[in-house]
Symmetry: C2
Subunit: 196 residues, 2 copies
């Protein structure tokens, strides 16, 4: 969906080969967009066919290293795309399905899994906060830098939310039950979210 434009952005930030892009996607874009090297090669070929980027073979280095640069048409396309309206794509969160399933069939030991995830999210949050303190000093007023800080803050908000959520989930799942309850009681009539 937005892979081509993510690549254009990355190439504007720095012209690179497919291999470099694959490595950089693991670093700076990793937590809000990912792509395997196969996808990247496939997409770069399309971008070139569309006339948005241009490749030149770098003879100096290793064999067959193709460096891509963004052309004017690509820059134009990127600017067009940035302002294009798109609805937020709905969530698709497996864990919620699990919780609902647990509610339907009764306790399944889900709390271990949630505890494991809580630890993961705490670790990730700590990492982001470290990066924030390292790379974003209080007094930066450059627009581009403030936007990049904002993107990092989104990651922080997200991980905080998951920690909060995991703790609430554990509070419910770890509660001692009155009786070791059978399969599934009267779990019909889901009042759940939405409707209206």
């Amino acid at each position: 969906m937005s892979l081509p434009h993510a690549l254009l952005t990355a190439l504007i930030e720095r012209p690179s080969s497919g291999f470099d892009l694959a490595a950089r996607f693991d670093k700076s874009m990793a937590y809000f967009w990912q792509a395997s090297h196969q996808q990247i090669y496939r997409e770069l070929a399309r971008l070139e066919e569309a006339g948005w980027v241009q490749s030149s073979v770098d003879e100096s280095g290793r064999g067959g290293r193709k460096v891509y640069e963004v052309l004017a048409a690509g820059r134009e396309e990127l600017r067009r795309w940035v302002a294009e309206p798109t609805d937020p794509r709905p969530l698709r969160e497996e864990l919620m399905v699990r919780l609902r399933a647990d509610a339907a069939v009764g306790p399944c030991g889900l709390q271990h899994e949630i505890a494991r995830r809580l630890a993961l999210h705490q670790a990730q949050l700590a990492e982001y906060q470290t990066i924030e303190q390292r790379d974003f000093a209080p007094g930066n007023d450059h627009r581009a830098q403030r936007l990049q800080h904002l993107v990092l803050q989104a990651g922080i908000l997200m991980e905080s939310m998951w920690c909060e959520f995991s703790e609430r989930a554990l509070a419910i799942l770890n509660e001692p039950e009155p009786e070791a309850g059978a399969g599934s009681p009267a779990a019909d009539q889901t009042p759940g979210p939405a409707s209206s």
Copy 2:
């Protein structure tokens, strides 16, 4: 990935036809898992082939209405799956790509899009809060109900986060710029998130 198990859960809550399931997915599961009717039919056929559900044609109603019920093996499979460990699947958020692109090529009018989204998230948040007050009275101690409440709260946390984020983004994007800045200045060297 978890569509088969989402279907099993929904069918345990209430045996239904594919058509009904498609309608219910639009209601109670809509905000954390979606499926088109084509997917649902495809998947129900697989579930039946696997011996997890059983269909019976309902002659009384409209022609060819196939009602599915979960078999013991399906219930077993669902319990197994609930406790199965899986890592949280990484984010894939188009808007972040847009912000980064904006940072790379300069202002593109992104604030209109963000303002539009803020309104959407505020509306969704209000809707969830209405549902919460309507369906979840303070004194409910049934485990299943508390879990369903938790899932709704996740939606509320999520929408609150997006509102907060959108407001921060607008604060930066609406800022008056010193000069109407050219294309892209020295936006190399992305310090961005991750790396560790």
